[in-house]
Structures are given as structure tokens and as C-alpha cells.
Symmetry: C2
Subunit: 215 residues, 2 copies
């Protein structure tokens, strides 16, 4: 599959690397077509890897991953272009962490709205699927680094889009993927971040994940 990834940070690079490893063709996008982190990543990942602008990556992908910070995702997606997103599955991995008030970060949107919902409202022709935002990057692409049962959350308005993304997630190694329903569940998973950050501080590691125990 051809995958466009918006964002050349650790999240974009890691998900992109995993997808290349699994045989997909991946283009990382950023503000500029010659982004340095993107160039290094391309050099490391062989012929299936390429880079370009946000619009280049979105145009290239049959499926798009938003791996930009949730505080700038709408801006990045506007650069990518609504036409390049229309009809496509858009996987939103972002969190609206605002570090401008100091530590711990606050959320730039929450409670009555979320980044996932904002993206779906702004790009109504994209099939937005929110997932992967509740785990550390290393865990995202290799869930087995955390021992025992643990779960991933997914939500979105389009059942087929969630099925497509779930298949990809299973190829990453995810076993339990909990479908929370429509995109408004983004609120719940994004608001998990303050607890996630606190747990990271408590355990002094990001290698953990949530599991829902039930009968």
C-alpha cells in the first residue's frame, strides 16, 4: 500500500519505518520538501521510502497518517490539501499537548471537543480514524515490548475505514483493539494523556500500556 505520513518527528519516522519494513511504500511529508530529518530517514529506509511536502505525502498516500502535534495538525492538514485527503482513510495519531504553559503540558483542546473531531469537521470528505495516541511510539509499532494483555483504542465514523486501519494495526502486532464508536470518542482518548504522562513519571518509563480488565 502507498502510505503518506504527515510529520517527520519520532512518531512519523517510527510508524513510517515499520510500514516500510512491512513492505509498504511510504512518503514522509513536512513543511518543506527537503526536511533534514526526512532526508536522514529516507537514506536509512531504502527504495520504498521517500519524502516531500505535506501535499506531496498526502497526494502519494492511499492512506494518510497524521503524525504532527495535535496543536498544529489542522494547519498541516490544510497544507496537505483537502483534495488530497478526500475519500481517503486519515489516521489521526496526534495529541494536543501544549507545552507553552510549562510542565506538565495541558491540552489545547479537550472536554467539549478534540483534535480528532476538529479534523473530521474540517475535512468532512476524509475518513478520520483516531488510534495509537495512547501509547509510546516504540509500543505503537511493537506492542509486544509491553508484556501481558494490553489494549489499543480506535474510533471513527466509517466502519470500513476502521476495519482497514485495524488490519494494519494487527500487522504491527496489536491483538486487542477496542472500537469506541464514532469520532467523538477522540475526546476520551486524548484526555487520557494527563494520566499517561503522570504514569510515565511514576514508573520512569514509557514502556507501559492500558488494559481494560472485564468479565
Amino acid at each position: 500500500m502507498r502510505v503518506g505520513i504527515l510529520g517527520t518527528g519520532v512518531v512519523g519516522q517510527t510508524i513510517g519505518g515499520k510500514l516500510v519494513e512491512l513492505g509498504h511504500d511510504v512518503r514522509l511529508g513536512s513543511r518543506t520538501a527537503t526536511n533534514e530529518k526526512g532526508a536522514t530517514w529516507v537514506a536509512q529506509h531504502g527504495s520504498r521510502a521517500s519524502q516531500g511536502t505535506f501535499a506531496d505525502a498526502a497526494s502519494f498516500g492511499e492512506i494518510i497518517f497524521n503524525c504532527t502535534s495535535g496543536t498544529v495538525s489542522l494547519e498541516a492538514l490544510r497544507s496537505a490539501g483537502a483534495d488530497h485527503l478526500a475519500g481517503k482513510v486519515l489516521v489521526d495519531v496526534s495529541n494536543p499537548l501544549d507545552f507553552s504553559r510549562g510542565m506538565p503540558p495541558t491540552l489545547s483542546v479537550c472536554n467539549t471537543d478534540s483534535v480528532g473531531e476538529q479534523i473530521q469537521r474540517t475535512f468532512p470528505d476524509a475518513k478520520v480514524v483516531k488510534t495509537l495516541n495512547t501509547t509510546n511510539t516504540a509500543v505503537m509499532v511493537d506492542p509486544a515490548v509491553v508484556p501481558g494483555d494490553h489494549d489499543l483504542f480506535i474510533c471513527g465514523n466509517d466502519a470500513d475505514a476502521k476495519a482497514t486501519v485495524s488490519e494494519l494495526l494487527r500487522s504491527f502486532g496489536w491483538r486487542t483493539i477496542i472500537d469506541l464508536g464514532d469520532i467523538s470518542a477522540s475526546r476520551g482518548v486524548e484526555m487520557l494523556l494527563p494520566l499517561w504522562l503522570r504514569l510515565m513519571g511514576t514508573f520512569k518509563t514509557a514502556t507501559f500500556n492500558f488494559h481494560i480488565a472485564r468479565s
Copy 2:
């Protein structure tokens, strides 16, 4: 131990009932000394159970549980009286769920503050411990109703107060109690509620709980 419980709703009644069962003397408090739900509860729980005003319950207790809704907790605690809370362990079980905008509820405070922090700021001489707010009432007092490993969160500024509450929680059956640090972690556990509510809708049951999987 003498325990004062503020709130005669399901949470207050259930925690109160468990404490009586464990041999503690419990007084439920509400706005009025003759609250009907309180009277029924007292009639069902024998000589260790009593009721009164918020101030009666707070004055009676060596340890106090705030089981009022987080949207009115400060008001209830002011009625209880700062003098009756000073120097005591005050267990805050509340969530600031605001149903006035319709379903799903929003939080009346979050992101940059929390009910736990508001209570500690308003009653600086109380030793506020936030816990139990992330599980259903039935699970609170009988964690074994959820199979497998699952965890409870606790936070607060006073280590001795957390130790006292943890001992009480272990007598309820809790095995893993994760200490998230000072009372500012209330933010994280209260912001878990939107996801909790979504999970309840997904699973069609409230008999579940969070577990943190880690190495």
C-alpha cells in the same frame, strides 16, 4: 475507626455499607439531618450506622469520605466546616461530571485544575487523598467482581494520609494501588472519566477497570 461520609447517594451508601461490614462506625451526612435515603441506609445497617448533617458527619469522622458530586463538593465541604476537616484525612472520591449540557456529560473543571486540587487549596489543613473515582461503585468496594489484574490510582500531598487510605483500600480487597504522587495528579484521574463512560457504553457494563501493563 469512626468514618464520616459526605453524600447519601449510591457511592456514599455503598462505601458506608462496606465500612460498617468491616467493623467501622459510619455516619452519613447530607444537607439535612433527616435525609430519607440516609434514614433507609441507617435502618439497614444496624448500630454502627448513623446519619446527620454534613457538619455532623465531618465532626464524627476521624477520616472523611467526600462522596458528593464533584460539581457541588466545595459547597458540601464548606457546609461540613473547615474546622471539622482540619488535620483529618479527607478521601475525595468525586468526579466533576456536568450533565447540564446533555449526554455525554462534560467535566465542570479539568485540564488546568481538578476537584481534588480545588478541595486541597480550599481546605489546606485537610489531608486530601484522591482515589476510587475511576471505578464503578460496585467495583470500589469489591474489586474481585472484575477478574484478572486491575489497578487503583491514589494521589495526595501527605504520605501518611495515603498510607492510611491504602490500608483501608486493601481491606476492601484492592491489591495494586498506584501512587501517582501529589494531589495535582487528580487532574489525570478525573480526566479519565470521558473514556470510562465511553467504555461503559461500548461494553454495556460498568464492571470493568483499568490495568497498567508494564515490564
